[in-house]
Each structure stands twice: as C-alpha cells, then as structure tokens.
C-alpha cells in the first residue's frame, strides 16, 4: 500500500488513509517512539537511524505482502524514518486494515517483529552522558 523510508517526521493519518477500505472494520496502527530509557537503560537524548534503502524497502514490501497473505486480507503500510530523532519522536509507523480486529492486531505485530529482524536499518543511541552506541535489535524471541 505505502512503504517509505523518509527523513521527515512521521504522520499516522496518511498511512491510515492508505490502508482503509470499505471491507475493513478494523485498523491497527503502531508507532515506535524514542524513549528516555533506551534498550540499554541509560538515559537517551536521541537516536539516529541509518538505512540501506535499496535493500530495506523491498524487504518492507515483502513483509507487508507476507502479513497480508498470512492474516487474510490485511492491508499494510510501513514507513520508517531515518536521520536524527529526539525524545518522543516516532521512528517507525505501521498501519494495518483488516475485516476483523484479531487479524489486524496479528498482522501489525507480525510486521513489526519481522521489520526488526529483517530490514537493513541501524540505530545509534545518543546518551545524555555524551556517549553513543550502535544498538542492534534483540534476537527474535528475546
């Protein structure tokens, strides 16, 4: 439906518009947001994201198509932001529309799990202390 890697702040509305249809009674949206305590539990000022878009975008599309196939009729949109993000800003937005809510929740969660495992995007944590560190995602199931 809509797959993008962008340097601009994320907006959920256009994603929801991209997935909605008369057949869909449920829309589930996910926003990943920069939080104060990063994965490492050291106070974070911001994050920076870097992507290999030529590889990341096709993978995002593949994940959306899989989610659609696995969770019948789900319509999926995924946008990831790159560049420097401050506390509270959204790094990723996923929207899923489906006839029923169970399917929409499952497809949205699936898309996020797969995105973290398979999409060629990297995150650097900038700590309040001034230090910085590349932070890989935890292995699936951890």
């Amino acid at each position: 439906m809509k797959y993008e890697i962008t340097r601009e702040p994320l907006d959920l509305e256009p994603l929801i518009e991209a997935v909605r249809s008369d057949a869909c009674g449920a829309i589930v949206a996910f926003l990943g947001v920069v939080r104060e305590l990063g994965d490492g539990d050291q106070p974070v000022d911001g994050l920076s994201y870097e992507a290999y878009p030529e590889m990341a975008l096709p993978e995002m599309r593949a994940i959306g198509a899989e989610a659609s196939r696995k969770f019948g009729e789900a319509r999926v949109a995924i946008v990831h932001r790159i560049g420097d993000l401050r506390l509270g800003e959204a790094s990723v937005a996923v929207a899923v529309a489906a006839p029923h809510r169970g399917v929409a929740f499952d497809a949205c969660e699936y898309a996020m799990d797969e995105l973290k495992a398979r999409v060629s995007i990297w995150k650097k944590e900038h700590f309040r202390s001034g230090e910085a560190r590349w932070r890989p995602n935890a292995a699936p199931g951890v």
Partner: protein
Amino acid sequence: MRVRVLAFARIREIVGSAERTVELAEGGTAGRVWDDLVREFPQLGEIERSTRLARNGALVEREAALHDGDELAFMPPFGGG
C-alpha cells in the same frame, strides 16, 4: 573487475566512509573483499561474526562469487524499529 562496496553503521564508522570501489581478480568472492577490509581495518575483526553480507541487495554467504559492477554491502546486525 570492479565492485562497489557499501559499509553501514559501525562498519561505516570504522572504515571511515560509506562507499568505496575495489578492484579484484576474476573469481573473487564476497568473503575475499571482507578479508581485505579486515586486513586494512583490524578493528573489524571484533565484529566479524555478526557481520552480514549482501550482494546487489540480497543476503549472501562469504563464498558468493562476485561479478564486475556488483554492489557488495557489509552490514552489522539490524536495529530498525
């Protein structure tokens, strides 16, 4: 032959640039390019086990053969989301 080499995230920082072009002999593999890079930047040795290789946007093993004009990417574990 010539191959375009892309480095991302920590690897990019160690190498000092996001992109370079390397010359290598016919029959060269992805692993061969990586080994040359580790020789030049020994710090890469620490993260060798977790580094993934992609040829023209698809993950490959070290043994993958390269061809003139290929794009080879060296990637640390992903951190998107």
